[in-house]
């Protein structure tokens, strides 16, 4: 796990002591369910709710820590908004520190994971939770620009960094 990172200075642990979420019994149960689903290659259901979508992103690993976005409370189930009938998914993520330079990469990892695992009918919005980052609007604008996202995903170096953040068991 020590080799993970993009090779730039940003990766050198800006926040060495992040707050880590205490796992509850419920989470452990959820994890079992999500692993069962993943072993099928894709979620068992065609109807998506915020719990199922949260399961798709909770195990993404932070580029700076050997911890998941759920562990770091970067993503939370109640900040996942899903309306299956309107094909709508909105994720708010909260960087661990308000000047985190990895925020765009984290957002991109969430976007890529959902691109790979949700049916294409969904319109996905990934944004920084209001008030959690100093460059909130700039990050949101970049993540919303599908042309920039598409170009970034053709960058083999960047995609390999993102692939390291997305654990194999939750890959679509």
């Amino acid at each position: 796990m020590t080799s993970r990172g993009c090779g730039t200075e940003h990766c050198c642990q800006q926040n060495p002591n992040p707050v880590i979420k205490e796992k509850t019994e419920l989470n452990v149960e959820d994890k079992c369910i999500s692993e069962d689903k993943s072993s099928q290659g894709e979620p068992l259901t065609d109807v998506f709710n915020n719990k199922i979508v949260f399961d798709l992103i909770r195990n993404i690993v932070d580029p700076e820590h050997p911890l998941t976005l759920e562990d770091l409370k970067v993503v939370q189930e109640d900040l996942v908004d899903v309306s299956d009938e309107n094909n709508y998914v909105k994720i708010c993520f909260s960087p661990t520190i308000p000047y985190c330079s990895m925020a765009t990469l984290i957002g991109l990892s969430i976007r890529v994971q959902l691109l790979r695992s949700l049916p294409p009918r969904f319109k996905v919005t990934v944004e920084v939770t209001p008030g959690t980052h100093t460059a909130e609007s700039a990050i949101n604008k970049q993540l919303a620009d599908k042309e920039r996202v598409a170009a970034a995903l053709e960058n083999t170096h960047l995609i390999s960094v993102i692939n390291e953040c997305i654990p194999a068991r939750s890959k679509g």
Binding site: K123, K141, R148, A150, A151
Partner: protein
Amino acid sequence: MPDIITGEMSGSEFKLEAIQTLNQHTGRVWHVSWHPEGKMFASCGEDRAIRLWSMESKNQWVNKVVLTEGHKRTIRQVTWSPCGNFLASASFDGTTCIWDKKSGQFECNATLEGHENEVKSVSWAPNGKLLATCSRDKSVWIWELVDDEEYDCAAVLNAHSQDVKKVAWHPNSELLASCSYDNTVKLFQDDPREGDWTCQTSLEGHLSTVWSIQFDSTGERLASCSDDLTVKIWKQQEHEWKCAHTIEGFHNRTIYDLSWNSDGYLATACGDDGLRIFKEEACIETGSISYKLVAENRQAHTQDLNSVAWNPIDPQLLVTCSDDGELKVWHFK
């Protein structure tokens, strides 16, 4: 939401009907462009291929040619030259290719290099002697045809502060428009006093990225569409381009492209999967203009529409393309 399935508007005198679906591309289709004679169109996308579609019989379009030997990455836009003998393609690989058919089949005979990264758009001036390109590197380049297959860079314009999304020429003068992630539209002209291309004006008013722009066939109007969910119509008033109307309240996600036909109907391609057609209405008393939605299909494709283009000869025919990998040919009357 009324009548989402058919997308037809009750009581509307206009009808918008899909007459053919074409699904030979793999992955997102970014752009469609009609040949000036209207008997052929080109499309391009994520699969790095340019496809040429010809009319075989009435309402039957067939993919006759596939060009794959030009670009190493996504092809973002293709555009026919005004004479119809050349096709330009802009790619995320940072280059623009000029294709011609001199050898009997389409080949890339010139490659324009200079942008630092993704080229997003390419446009031919009406005289066919000038080309404009733009890029994520924030610059707009003007290229001049100096010899049969030689293009020289005539100007590098650094007026935008961000990613430039599209370039479009005025239909009958050497006026170039560009639009950007910096939320502005800028107009450029070759200034004889300066002896160089300069930014004449910056049109401000959009609240987010401006994705596309197009002059209408008269050159009197410029339409721009944006991530702010609006379309703005700019008109020249006393030598200054001003926003004459904002079309708002119809689009639910980013508007990626628009196209005018020769009768003044304006079509929009939206990220909410919808295709919409608007028509200008003038208020005689006040002299102001407004735009009426005359036809709509809210499920024109199953994913975002990226481009829309009216046939230059037949004002009832248009083509759209989408993230769903498909192109659709539509009949509007």
